[in-house]
């Protein structure tokens, strides 16, 4: 058990170091994110003409929301769905079956190594740079900071689990790109990355609240903004734990099915 933990930590470290070798890849990423954040900044700046309050957020809160949402996304985002999907499509998953470890844990560990790299070399510098150009609201108190950090970690796990399940879905559809695109659109819309959930009409909000996606972006952002504090913030963390358990169970079922029905090319 302890040995396995060491192995997964080693994988986190390895992926982190590995990513250092591909720095140029991240420069294009930084450009991409700058354009996204810039575009949304001007969009919301235009929408908030006058002193309006939409969906419980004023102009300043909205701009902070957009910046935080994208900076945090640069941390939790991963290509896990593509990696798992490729493993399944190319039959590489067979090679993973001959190893005495948990395939999913290995994937999560490597993803986390990548996320840690993105945090240090991407999210922190980007956040600081943006703050210098256009100061945004900082958290109202240390309790908000602590809860926000915990919620972002939860967001990473939930996003990784959803990606894992999307990757396993390739097993059924045999059309990976469709799955990846669908997952991306669903995540962008229902997590609150593009639009805070409070902007949606009532019926849509009621549905979204029953789904795990809002725990990835919307709820952590609201904790950052101080709109969710104290006991309510703690409830968000509990909700995340609940979804981690449910999604973990689902992913386990998918994995069991995939292993049983693994089909590999070749005599």
């Amino acid at each position: 058990m302890f040995n396995r933990l060491l192995l997964y930590l080693e994988l986190v470290r390895m992926e982190f170091v590995n990513n250092l070798a591909y720095r140029s890849f991240y420069f294009t990423g930084i450009l991409n994110y700058s354009i996204q954040i810039g575009a949304y900044f001007f969009l919301w700046d235009a929408v908030y003409v006058g002193n309006r309050v939409i969906g419980g957020l004023d102009r300043e809160a909205m701009i902070t929301y957009v910046i935080i949402a994208w900076v945090v996304r640069s941390f939790y985002f991963s290509n896990l769905d593509r990696r798992v999907g490729t493993d399944i499509r190319d039959g590489k998953i067979a090679l993973e079956l001959i190893r005495p470890y948990s395939y999913q844990m290995v994937k999560y560990a490597r993803s986390f190594g990548e996320a840690a790299f993105r945090m240090f070399f991407f999210a922190f510098p980007a956040g600081a740079a943006i703050y210098l150009i256009r100061p945004f609201t900082l958290p109202v108190g240390w309790d908000s900071v602590a809860m926000f950090v915990a919620a972002v970690l939860g967001a990473f796990v939930i996003n990784a689990q959803i990606s894992m399940i999307a990757g396993f879905a390739v097993f059924f559809t045999k059309s990976p790109t469709g799955v990846y695109k669908a997952k991306r659109v669903i995540m962008d819309l229902l997590s609150g990355l593009l639009l805070p959930i409070s902007f949606y009409p009532g019926w849509a909000r009621e549905i979204i609240q029953l789904l795990p996606f809002q725990a990835v972006s919307y709820l952590p952002n609201m904790i950052y903004l101080g709109k969710i504090r104290g006991a309510a913030a703690f409830e968000v963390l509990l909700l995340q734990v609940f979804w981690i358990a449910v999604l973990g169970f689902l992913a386990h079922l998918f994995w069991r099915f995939a292993v049983k029905h693994v089909v590999i090319q070749g005599g």
């Binding site: 040995n3 590995n18 001959i98 005495p100 049983k260």
Partner: protein, 278 residues
């Protein structure tokens, strides 16, 4: 107690057969037709500790499918299999600690990182004590000559170098059984002989059981006293290579195997005593 014991081992694949034309494609949306392919058909197979067995067959004969069932990758449709005291597909995580697998067609090492980093990670994965790890690595290096490219990433290695690394990687944890699926595919004569020499030495020193599929009968002649021949999922022959020669009265293994693949039987009267064509 045999190290590997399979009885009535069978694997069927369901293959979706597409109907022709536009109407056919439309029909397939609602009603899919499947055809069942029996890749491995009730094979009995037993191997003792320390044996080196060659497993050959034409393309698509069912070799790799058998290996994949023995290694726990595929779940058999029917039959039983125990290897090293485990049921491979059921006790995967404990079972795989005691085996090594090499697929000639694809590397199991991490593509982008230095070979030595892959090895170190494998040490963690298999919980190999550091002293054992260093000793074995030294020994593999002596025979295979790895040291010159241990610090290169796998993507920069030649096929021969990669294969040597893959072999070393599969043996770092001193497994009881080594499964090799076409380990010499695409290699030059020198690389081949190096790998054969290495396998012989490993088998000799550690009593590692080796199961090897190949299309190169030179591998069999150099390494395996015993050969199993499979065609269309059925075991055609399982016995000593020497007996094949006396059965067929030929002096080239290649000719014999060709005839077996073509479905011919040895001429009666030539068959040596105690030899069975399964």
């Amino acid at each position: 107690m045999k190290l590997i014991e399979a009885r009535g081992l069978t694997k069927e694949f369901r293959i979706f057969s597409r109907s022709e034309g536009v109407m056919g494609a439309f029909r397939d949306l609602f009603h899919r037709k499947y055809r069942v392919l029996r890749a491995v058909d009730e094979i009995d197979f037993a191997v003792d500790r320390g044996e080196m067995v060659g497993y050959i067959g034409a393309n698509g004969a069912g070799k790799s499918t058998t290996i994949k069932m023995l290694t726990g990758i595929l779940v058999p449709t029917a039959g039983t299999v125990t290897v090293n005291g485990y049921v491979p597909h059921k006790q995967r995580e404990s079972y795989t600690k005691g085996i090594g697998v090499v697929f000639g067609q694809r590397s199991q090492l991490w593509w982008d990182i230095a070979v030595i980093e892959s090895f170190k990670l494998l040490r963690r994965i298999y919980d190999v004590p550091r002293a054992d790890f260093n000793r074995r690595l030294q020994q593999f290096d002596d025979i295979l000559g790895l040291s010159s490219f241990l610090n290169l990433p796998v993507r920069k290695l030649s096929l021969g170098q990669r294969m040597r690394c893959d072999l070393a990687a599969a043996l770092l944890h001193n497994p009881a059984i080594l499964f090799l699926d076409e380990p010499t595919i695409g290699l030059d004569v020198l690389a081949k002989s190096k790998i054969r020499e290495f396998l012989k030495e490993i088998n000799n020193e550690f009593k590692t059981t080796v199961i090897l599929t190949t299309h190169d009968l030179g591998d069999i002649e150099a390494l395996c006293p015993r050969v199993a021949i499979i065609d269309q999922g059925k075991m055609l022959y399982d016995g000593l290579v020497d007996n094949l020669f006396s059965q067929w009265g030929q002096d080239k293994l290649e000719d014999i195997v060709k005839r077996i693949y073509m479905g011919q039987k040895p001429e009666p009267g030539l068959a040596g005593g105690g030899v069975s064509l399964v």
